[in-house]
Symmetry: C2
Subunit: 124 residues, 2 copies
DNA sequence: CAAGTATATAATCATTTTGTTATATAATCA
DNA sequence: TGATTATATAACAAAATGATTATATACTTG
C-alpha cells in the first residue's frame, strides 16, 4: 500500500502541537519579535525560547535577521506550507493586543525597538 | 500577561503531528473504517492501531460504533474543531484511492464489510 | 578594558510518547 | 465446546521531547 508522503505536514502540526510554540507563531503572525520580547510574552526562560525558536527555524516555518543588537524572528513567507499555516493562525484568537501591550506597558524593559518599527522593517 | 487558552487547539495539532495519526484521519475522512482495515492501510500492528485510535477518541476527534462484529471508527462531527480539522484534511492528498483499493484488492482478508456500505451507514 | 545586554548552545534530567509483547474479553463459528 | 475473529488493554522498553543549569559568544557602553 503506497502512501503519499505527509511527513512535512506532520512536522508542521507537531510544531503547532506545543502550546508555547503555537503562541509563538501567533505572536509572530502579528509582528517580528526579538527573543527578549518573546521571553516576556511567553513567560519563558531565555534558553527555552531560544531553543524553541531554533526548532521552528529548522522546519522552515520562521526566519530571523539581525536588526541592531536584536535578532528579529518572523514567519517565513518561503515556507512550503506558509498559506496553510497562516490559515490556521487566522482562526485563532488574535495576539494583536498582547503584542501591542508589551510596548505600551513598561514590560519591554530590555529590548527597546518599537513594534510598529518592526512591522515596518518586515515589509521592506 | 494573559493568554487565551489554546490548549485544545494545541492538542488537535499534536494529534495531527504524528504521521500515522495524520494518515488515519485522512482515511477516516473518506470512510468509516474498522481496526483491521486500518491495520492494512497503515501497515501497523493491531495494538498500535488500537491505541492510536483510543488517543484520537479521547481528544474527541473521532468516535466509534459497533456494526456487526466490527467497531467502526469515524470522524466525530461534534468535535469542537471539526470544521477546522476538515479544512486541514481537505488540503492533503485524498485517500480515496487507497481506501477503495483495500476492497478491490484481496487485502481485505478479514473484515468483509464493504467501504460503500460503511459510507452509507455513516450517513444514516 | 570591565560590565552589561542579547542570544546560542551543550549537558543533563524528567516526562511523555509510541511501539511491542502478552493477555483479556466478547462474539461467532465449526 | 473449542477455535477463530475483532478489539482492548496492561506492562514494559526505547525514543523523543522540553526545560533547566551552566557556559560561550558577540556587541555595546561607561
Amino acid at each position: 500500500m503506497k502512501h503519499p508522503d505527509l511527513s512535512s505536514h506532520a512536522v508542521m502540526h507537531k510544531m503547532l502541537g506545543d502550546e508555547k510554540r503555537l503562541h509563538t507563531l501567533r505572536f509572530l503572525y502579528e509582528a517580528g519579535l526579538c527573543v527578549c520580547d518573546l521571553e516576556t510574552l511567553l513567560d519563558s526562560s531565555q534558553p527555552a525560547v531560544s531553543q524553541s525558536l531554533r526548532k521552528l527555524k529548522q522546519t522552515g516555518m520562521i526566519t530571523s535577521h539581525k536588526h541592531d543588537q536584536w535578532q528579529i524572528y518572523t514567519l517565513n513567507k518561503e515556507y512550503a506550507h506558509y498559506d496553510q499555516l497562516v490559515q490556521i493562525l487566522q482562526q485563532l484568537p488574535s495576539a494583536k493586543e498582547q503584542v501591542d501591550e508589551i510596548t505600551a506597558s513598561g514590560l519591554r524593559t530590555r529590548c527597546s525597538i518599537e513594534i510598529t518599527e518592526i512591522r515596518f522593517l518586515e515589509k521592506s
